[in-house]
């Protein structure tokens, strides 16, 4: 046991700490504040403290737990909200009231709740089991079976496994290796800073559908992929992340509120129990784990929150689930690193960030992927990180470090947000490198038309942007009719397809099927419009067609009505153009 020598903000230097390991968790001071050793200098240890250090003084004791920073993993994780070091916030509220007190410890997982354990098919006593093997499961929520796996480092002959009702710390089985016995409980601990191993990684070949048209339709992310949403404040990062958390077709969603607003987490807590998973109709909370370390909570715990989240995600991935992890915002995580680094008096890199920032970012995003886990099942982690660049300028270190490693980039644009065009993802600067990997999936599930229409849509948007530059100089009147049609179709794609309200019941989520219909209708209109112009019909009368309003209201069509709407609108486009051309020919004939 050592004692405090110096205190400076969240950093404490303790003396007499010989024997403790780097990254051990320690209890600091008389209040027992939780901290982690981040530097050793002879007998002295530098500790980052995860709670407010006001009021502690040199001379108070420091005790090492001898364990690295870990999370507790067991049934009871889902539907829960934790702080950055996995303390359950509901429990903290019971212990210290509406405001978070200091030195409160609470179990991450409820120790008293009983769970009904089932033995996994094919598993029997006497089997030789290894780390990661699934031996049983608990129906944690209606949506999710929580599989019980053999913990890290355990191997041997399984015995004593019996179905029944257990608490998480009760022994459910024993593993015997050459006389050395390990007791298996449903609760296991994993160190957060070390990635969990797996058998092999696969190429990501299936899209993560989010119900957001600009993402699914133009810039998709694959299950097991990575994506970044950088943008200045007010550009809609939070609304976009929340939308993904709500509608992504993942089995599990882990959301990390890292140094963000308290009310944003409250919003999730209010909204999610009311919202239904589009696939199963069950409340979204049944598949969600929340980690909230808001901007006014201790900064060192903010640094840890990202690791806590990704370790929980890996645990569910190992069970064979598709997991989406949203971190809002990774910039605040980087700032927490910078603050700690500055107090350690490390030589700063760019903009005061530590020189190891790019490495940490890359390591974090590498924990994504579609893998064959040690259990033999295939699961994935999709990592989506919001980035908050100062002044919206992407040349800063966090954005740059992130863009070097992620494969999907949703570029938020303040001018779109100002015009209330949401989601304000810019279609000219965003990109997705998964298009080719996903093409076989699209061809198989939606027909080859889907990928072709996507490419066509991108070409039109690009062309529209070029034409707009010309219009800026000479005015729209100077363009030929065919190009003015391209301008109009570009407008339709932007306003009638890409613009989407996250707050409208119908519009908030769009299935791939409906998306395909919307794009196809717009392109059908384009084909007819070009043909009409070629036939000599003046542009003005095309612009007055009533079907344009039907197209603009396609987003209001209910999912169940999509097939009907597809036929109706296609028929409407054909008949209105036909009569237009006929009228024109008759007028010509006269």
């Amino acid at each position: 046991m050592g004692y405090i020598e110096r205190i400076s903000g969240p950093l404490v230097v303790a003396d007499d700490m010989l024997g403790s390991n780097m990254y051990d968790v320690v209890k600091v001071g008389n209040d027992g504040l939780v901290g982690e050793i981040i530097q050793l200098r002879g007998p002295k240890a530098v500790i980052q403290v995860y709670e407010e250090t006001t009021g502690i003084r040199p001379g108070e004791k420091v005790e090492s737990t001898g364990l690295p920073l870990s999370v507790e993993l067991a049934p009871g994780l889902l539907n829960n909200i934790y702080d950055g070091i996995q303390r359950p916030l509901e429990e903290l509220r019971r212990k210290s009231g509406a405001f978070i007190g200091r030195g409160i410890s609470a179990n991450s997982i409820d120790r008293n709740k009983k769970w009904k354990l089932f033995i996994e098919k094919g598993v029997k006593n006497g089997d030789h089991v290894k780390e990661g093997h699934i031996i049983g499961y608990v129906q944690e929520t209606e949506l999710i079976k929580h599989y019980i796996m053999i913990p890290v480092g355990v191997e041997g002959k399984l015995s004593g496994l019996k179905e029944g009702t257990y608490r998480v710390e009760d022994r459910i089985a024993t593993v015997d290796k050459g006389g050395k016995k390990f007791e298996i409980t449903m609760l296991q601990k994993r160190s957060v800073r070390k990635p969990q191993s797996f058998r092999q990684k696969f190429r990501s070949d299936e899209p993560l559908t989010t119900g957001m048209r600009i993402i699914d339709g133009l810039f998709p992310v694959a299950k097991g992929g990575t994506a970044a949403i950088p943008g200045p404040f007010g550009a809609g990062k939070t609304v976009a992340s929340h939308s993904i958390a709500k509608y992504a077709d993942s089995d599990i969603v882990v959301m990390i509120g890292c140094g963000e607003r308290g009310n944003e987490m409250t919003e999730v807590l209010v909204e999610f129990p009311e919202l239904k998973d589009p696939k199963s109709g069950r409340p979204l909370t049944e598949r969600t784990v929340l980690i909230a370390n808001t901007s006014n909570m201790p900064v060192a715990a903010r640094e840890a929150s990202i690791y806590t989240g990704v370790t929980i995600a890996e645990y569910f991935r190992d069970m064979g689930y598709n997991v989406t992890l949203l971190a809002d915002s990774t910039s605040r995580w980087a700032e927490a690193m910078r603050e700690i680094s500055a107090r350690l008096e490390e030589m700063p890199g760019e903009e005061g960030y530590p020189a190891y920032l790019p490495k940490r970012l890359a390591e974090y995003y590498e924990r994504s992927g579609k893998v064959e886990a040690l259990s033999g099942r295939t699961g994935s982690i999709t990592l989506v990180g919001a980035v908050s660049p100062p002044g919206g300028d992407l040349s800063e270190p966090v954005s740059q470090g992130t863009l070097r490693v992620v494969k999907t980039f949703w570029s938020l644009d303040a001018s779109l947000a100002n015009a209330r065009h949401f989601p304000s993802i810019n279609w000219l600067t965003s990109y997705s490198l998964y298009i080719n990997d996903l093409k076989p999936w699209y061809d198989k599930n939606l027909g080859e038309e889907f990928a072709e229409n996507r490419a066509e849509t991108m070409r039109i948007l690009q062309k529209e942007a070029e034409l707009k530059d010309i219009v800026q100089l000479v005015g729209a009147e100077a363009l030929p009719d065919t190009e003015r049609i391209t301008l109009e179709i570009g407008r339709m794609i932007r306003e009638d397809f890409l613009r989407q309200s996250a707050f409208d019941e119908v519009d908030a989520y769009t299935s791939l099927k409906k998306q395909a219909f919307m794009v196809a209708s717009i392109l059908h209109f384009r084909k007819q419009a070009n043909a009409a112009v070629k036939a000599g019909v003046p542009l003005d009368s095309i612009m007055k067609l009533k079907v344009r309003e039907d197209i603009s209201r396609m987003k209001e069509e209910k999912e169940s009505e999509v097939d009907k709407a597809r036929h109706r609108i296609a028929a409407e486009i054909d008949s209105q153009f036909n009569s237009l051309v006929r009228e024109y020919r008759e007028a010509e004939g006269k």
């Binding site: 205190i7 009021g55 003084r57 009231g97 939070t238 140094g259 607003r261 009310n263 005015g475």
Partner: protein, 462 residues
């Protein structure tokens, strides 16, 4: 009686910092009393402590501090302040001492000025619409009770008038409850202070106001504590006394500059433009103290004024503020120069909590649609305007000319109003429909059809 050791071991004095040697085990953030040889006393706080010395930041000037005669005593507690309901109607200085001439204040309890973070699960999501009577706010960027909504402004713009007007007019629709006001003047000029004081006095709001004033010539380090005193008082009034409190903090730019001054005195590695790397966290520890707490009747709504250096919204102070607060009201020099009041530019403004505070039962069913549509059309008007600057107004297409006209009418009729003009939300939305009715029905794609048929004003048959 408590035994206090007086240390006469000051080693260094630099800027606002004093290093005291041979101190054994001072608490982190402990409050110290510094006594000059003429008997004058100043307060300070421990910023860094070790088993041999303590670094103290002094709230006040450091002139007169003497290495051999000045004594320092450690008070064994962190910075606390007295709070009570009787603070309403009173004016305090930047350290919480009564500034007015009346008798002392009796406090009900003492509280740590740093407060504690609200547990996210204990927060109540804000959803009560505050009617400010200002169309640009109520109609487009609605303020909600428990929100933190700063005013982004610049020197020479009417942010003080706007803040005073909001204070004067704000009410929760359907109730007659008025707000208690906690005012934190951070490094403001005497004129600005006087303006608010007279405004509040004129409308009788003064009785319901507790003001903490650090003037421009008061010690700048004091500015670190002034907003914390105000917020601690506000929390007491809101969560213990059940009041709805409106906190006005002006000017946050002065606060951030004091933070920078302190940081450079400590020789810390600077972040952007010399501001400390932890400024985001520090500002959040103020702004995040707005809100509602489950099971407690009161609320804290924050209206913070940020003057943007050289009108630059990407400057670290407004930038970090915008990342923490729930939106911002942006006052534009262009509009003000055209003679418009309050000069709020909707295209840079935002209220993140708006969607929860509007709609049927709160404002009106068509509110969201009207707001989105006005935004969409005004953005088009801006495009048309920049186009006309290049090709000339004559060369614009008919539809662009229409947008241009809409933009002008919108600025003149919707965005502009009188300093003492109070519009109800119905009046605001009706003006909105007047403007939308200038545009063909088919273009109103952001409004639901049913509301168009209900509110759209068809032109008299021509």
């Amino acid at each position: 009686m408590k035994f206090e050791i007086e240390y006469k071991t000051i080693q260094n004095v630099a800027g606002p910092l004093v290093v005291v040697g041979k101190v054994r085990n001072a608490q982190y953030n402990e409050i110290v009393k510094i006594k000059l040889h003429d008997g004058e006393e100043r307060l300070g706080q421990v910023l860094d402590t070790s088993s041999t010395q303590a670094v103290v930041q002094v709230f006040g000037p450091t002139n007169g501090i003497n290495v051999s005669t000045t004594s320092v005593s450690f008070l064994g507690e962190t910075f606390t302040t007295g709070v009570s309901e009787s603070m309403l109607g009173r004016v305090f200085d930047g350290q919480g001492r009564p500034r007015d001439m009346s008798a002392g204040v009796s406090y009900e309890e003492r509280r740590d000025i740093n407060g504690a973070p609200i547990n996210p699960v204990s927060r109540q999501y804000p959803s009560d619409f505050i009617e400010t009577g200002i169309s640009a706010i109520d109609g487009l960027d609605t303020l909600v009770r428990g929100q933190k909504l700063p005013i982004f402004s610049s020197s020479g713009l009417p942010h003080n008038q706007l803040a005073a007007q909001i204070t004067r007019q704000a009410s929760v629709k359907g109730t007659s409850e008025s707000f208690a006001v906690v005012f934190a003047g951070i490094g403001i000029t005497y004129d600005d202070y006087r303006y608010f004081f007279d405004e509040f006095k004129k409308t009788g709001a003064l009785r319901n106001t507790a003001a903490f004033i650090n003037l421009a010539d008061d010690p700048s380090i004091e500015r670190i504590i002034t907003p914390r005193l105000a917020l601690t008082t506000a929390e007491f009034l809101a969560y213990e006394k059940g009041m709805h409190v409106l906190v006005i903090m002006t000017d946050m730019t002065n606060y951030a500059e004091s933070l920078r001054e302190l940081s450079s005195a400590r020789e810390e590695v600077p972040g952007r433009r010399g501001y400390p790397g932890y400024m985001y966290t520090d500002l959040a520890s103020l702004y995040e103290r707005a809100g509602l707490v489950k099971g407690k009747p009161g609320s804290i709504t924050q209206l913070d004024i940020v003057t943007m250096p050289s009108d630059d919204v990407t400057h670290p102070i407004p930038d970090l503020t915008g990342y923490i607060t729930e939106g911002q009201i942006n006052i534009s020099r262009d509009l003000v120069n055209k003679g418009m009041y309050p000069g709020i530019q909707p295209l840079g403004s935002l209220s993140r909590l708006m969607n929860n505070g509007i709609g049927p039962g709160k404002t009106r069913e068509d509110h969201k649609g009207v707001s989105d549509q006005l935004y969409g059309l005004y953005a088009k008007a801006q495009e048309a305007k920049s186009l006309s600057a290049i090709v000339g107004a004559e060369a614009l297409s008919d539809s662009d000319k229409k947008y241009l006209k809409f933009g002008e009418d919108f600025e003149n009729r919707f965005l502009t109003q009188g300093l003492y003009e109070r519009r109800t939300i119905d009046e605001t939305l009706d003006i909105g429909w007047d403007l939308l009715s200038e545009v063909p029905e088919a273009e109103l794609t952001r409004v639901k059809r049913e509301y168009i048929s209900k509110y759209y004003k068809k032109k008299a048959e021509e």
